[in-house]
Symmetry: C2
Subunit: 234 residues, 2 copies
């Protein structure tokens, strides 16, 4: 049987920690399932657990006082969520909802905080993680302000192609178009139009199946930032 501690070892967040520390984390975590649509953490609530997504998909969204909602991120294995809230001991700013049936690890927030206080390696791992989440948010902010929906879609598609496929690529979307639209910060209708626009740039779609016929052309439209070349980040 697979125990939680085995699982903890496979979580990238913790993989560099030594076994004794991982065991102590294991002692305060439990594995839990979640049904599709189940709310795992409610905006405005104090998080009881740090969650790690082992299987399935989880959507993070933030809703304004007037009730409108912005989807901020869709998580896949092996991501985690509500880390920043746990660390700041502040109520969450987003609601986490299972998109599909999920399997998760739930690490008790209080216990984790105690460990973080005492263990520099753990604090360091989390520091890296939160910092990179911060950077993700900055990028999203920039994309939202500076790129059109079609460009954001283009970037999203380009991000799914594996390295080495310079000209053509084919894959399927990891979730339905309604969710993709929300993730890209637009409505389903506009995502549809965005796909229509990209058709002129060698993008073919059949349902969730996507074929990119001309990656360079798509890049020219979408202008993705290329992480391997800091100069293009200027």
């Amino acid at each position: 049987m697979v125990t939680a501690v085995d699982l903890i070892g496979t979580v990238p967040l913790f993989e560099r920690l030594d076994a004794s520390l991982r065991e102590r984390i294991e002692a305060i975590t439990e594995e839990i399932p979640a049904e599709a649509d189940q709310v795992l953490s409610h905006q405005g609530a104090m998080p009881q657990f740090l969650y790690i997504l082992l299987e399935g998909q989880v959507a993070l969204s933030s809703t304004a006082p007037d009730g409108t909602t912005a989807l901020v991120e869709v998580l896949h294995p092996i991501d985690h969520f509500v880390l920043a809230s746990v660390l700041t001991r502040l109520p969450t700013l987003m609601t986490a909802r299972a998109v599909t049936r999920c399997r998760l690890l739930a690490i008790h927030a209080g216990g984790l905080l105690d460990l973080v206080e005492a263990e520099a390696p753990l604090a360091n791992t989390l520091l890296r993680s939160v910092s990179s989440e911060f950077r993700t948010m900055v990028r999203q902010l920039r994309d939202l302000k500076l790129r059109t929906a079609a460009q954001r879609l283009g970037c999203y598609l380009l991000a799914r192609v594996k390295d080495g496929e310079a000209l053509k690529a084919e894959f399927r979307l990891p979730f339905d178009k309604g969710l993709l639209a929300a993730r890209l910060g637009c409505r389903q209708e506009n995502l549809s139009r965005a796909f229509a626009t990209l058709r002129g740039y060698g993008v073919e779609t059949h349902g969730a199946r996507v074929i990119l016929h001309d990656i360079p052309r798509l890049k020219a439209l979408a202008v993705p930032d290329d992480p391997s070349d800091p100069e293009t980040l200027l």
Copy 2:
């Protein structure tokens, strides 16, 4: 004479650290001045220093490959910047530019990383800080997606009123309207129109001087999130 170590002690980021650790930080920091418009850290570059702003204002902006730029935040004393990049050892995603003449502390990035590795209290302090920056970004993302420019301006104005002023308030804007517009994610022209809209909600302006005559009414329009009441965060 005021030494850097005295200054380190006054930086909220470090104030909870014990004296010996602060000294070790002091050993790798220097105080530097900056002229208005001077670029302190360039997008896409590896940050050499963690900066702490002692005097003046610094703008953080992110520019897309096509050259358009989004201002993400305007910093005031005693904020710091490029922390997430230093911690992840990744190139910066934003350019930091002095808005006014500034005085700063520059903490050597490599040295800081060494300290962070070894010192749990330091790692913890930074963890809190990055986490709360992360939360700030989430909020900005939500505001941008969900609120109009007039609402964002309303929230911004309401955020400047000190607690206890429930009905009326008066203050001056900390920087010029061009910068405020960028900070709010709109053009100067639209900021102007936003102010015009708010005039109908008891907002009076004379240059940088702002008078709020009817705070409750403004709140009703802008619907700021009230940090003291988690329920309104729903």
